[in-house]
């Protein structure tokens, strides 16, 4: 191998200027999207898990011909919630913790990029991933619901019937993604080690997502159903359920919107207050 060239003789090129925010955001978003698309684990969590749950829930309906956990729309809401929880809790928070341990954030912080821009870029990519996941799940739900299992009763999911339902669903998805991303931020703020966060994230999955699966079922009693309904997962499922069937939007849905916003504010507050950019 030949010797590397000894010197760089390019002259310094004054006057230097602080880069425009648009230039910074363009560079950050391009890099963050590339990282997201290359991360096989994140892609698996983003798309495969909710599709598996969706398939399982609809398959159970097809086989037993009865609704176990809730209406078909609820099953879609549950799959969407699982997708968002996976992206935020197992994907986003882990990536943040790992990059923090490796010093990636410190390297970015010595550039002119403001710290809020570094984090906003990452969050925007996660929101985009959640919306992409939602699109895939909704398309798959139509396939599962109508073509594979032929569930043709009046409650069957067919969001295509209603443009309003789609728009409302995507608006509520943004509120819901804010909730789970703020939870992910709080976890990354409170737990510094990536290994510990991996373990804590899996445990946190239970109260944050799995509990919500029973928000429409009294199989464990009404008290459990109430707790489940207002857990983060249950709140999001109630909200999405209302969005997918606008005619059923009621005071509970409004309350779910308010509660999910409150959750977002509280968890984001925790995540910002205790977040540290460096591992030491």
């Amino acid at each position: 191998m030949s010797e590397p060239s000894a010197v760089t003789t390019q002259p310094a090129s004054p006057p230097l200027r602080a880069p425009a925010l648009s230039e910074i955001f363009r560079a950050l978003l391009e890099a963050d999207f590339t990282v997201q698309l290359r991360n096989n684990r994140a892609l698996l969590l983003s798309f495969a898990l909710p599709l598996v749950l969706l398939y399982a829930l609809f398959a159970s309906v097809a086989v037993k011909r009865r609704i176990i956990l809730g209406d078909p729309e609820f099953k879609i809401a549950a799959a969407l919630t699982l997708g968002m929880a996976s992206i935020a809790i197992l994907g986003y928070s882990m990536t943040v913790a790992r990059d923090r341990e490796k010093g990636v954030f410190q390297r970015l912080r010595v550039t002119p990029a403001p710290t809020w821009a570094i984090m906003t870029s990452r969050l925007l990519v996660q929101v985009a991933a959640m919306l992409a996941m939602a699109l895939v799940v909704l398309v798959a739900a139509n396939l599962f619901g109508w073509r594979i299992f032929s569930i043709a009763d009046s409650n069957s999911p067919d969001p295509a019937d209603s443009f309003v339902a789609y728009v409302l669903t995507f608006i509520c998805l943004i509120f819901s993604s804010a909730l789970f991303l703020s939870v992910g931020q709080a976890l990354a703020g409170l737990v510094k080690s990536a290994d510990t966060l991996n373990a804590v994230g899996r445990i946190a999955y239970l109260p944050l997502f799995a509990l919500g699966l029973f928000s429409q079922s009294t199989v464990f009693g009404t008290t459990f159903e109430l707790i489940s309904r207002w857990s983060p997962g249950g709140t999001v499922e109630t909200l999405l359920l209302g969005a997918m069937t606008p005619s059923s939007w009621n005071s509970d849905t409004w309350l779910a919107l308010a509660v999910s916003t409150a959750y977002s504010v509280v968890f984001a507050g925790i995540g910002i207050r205790w977040f540290q950019w460096g591992a030491r």
């Binding site: 590397p4 000894a6 010197v7 200027r17 602080a18 925010l21 560079a27 590339t34 010093g103 010595v110």
Partner: protein, 262 residues
Amino acid sequence: MTSEAPPVSGLALQVKDLRVSYGPKRAVDGVSLDINEGEIFGLLGPNGAGKTSTLSAIEGLLNPTSGSILIRQVDARAHPGLAKALIGVQLQSTSFQSDLKISEIVKLYAGLYGVPLTKQAIFDRLTEIHLGDEASRRFSQLSGGQQKRLSLLIATVHDPPLVLLDEPTSGLDPQARRQLWDRIEGIRKSGRSILLTTHSMEEAQSVCDRVAIMDDGKILTVDTPAGLIEKHKDDPNVLAVARGQVTLEDVFIGLTGRELRE
């Protein structure tokens, strides 16, 4: 929000009475230093002396308790965005996003300084440091020397007037170290100033125009390497540790003590 740096004053960096604390512990205690245009300035000190904390404060990673930092007359505490555009930084241990290729890493960091680079320009810059063939590899797949070369390239991707290097040659074999010294010298020849920290007396003598020895958060002495030896050759503490002719290492040990630092 684009703003430009004021005209050059002759000083690349002015630090006055800088203090940095971690809770009750004062890591940097009244450090003042000036670095001229085109000068390579070395900070020497044992572990925990405050070298990295001083650099971190200048880089904007730490918020100083008090003191002023002027980078080409730009107040770094009042205008951190502009000040950061004026410096290039190589951290002690650098890591980049593991899923990015090194060509994408160069593109990212150039973009963060508002320097648009074409694919060809990125390839040319990588080729210049003999990493052209590695453009599609990940940072973690590079050897230690290659990583250091890439880090230095990224630190200077926007041609900053001041480059801060935190122990740039630690962990490198002699060949890679010599090559990096050549590159540092090349950066200086292009008109830029360099502030580096090091534990290597050989590096300080070979590369630096002036050297400051730090301990307990304070600068103990500043001069050229030869000037430091001349200034302290009759110091009893230095003579007590010297084995024959007084060296820069004797001066360093004599001023900072023989006890081990963690």
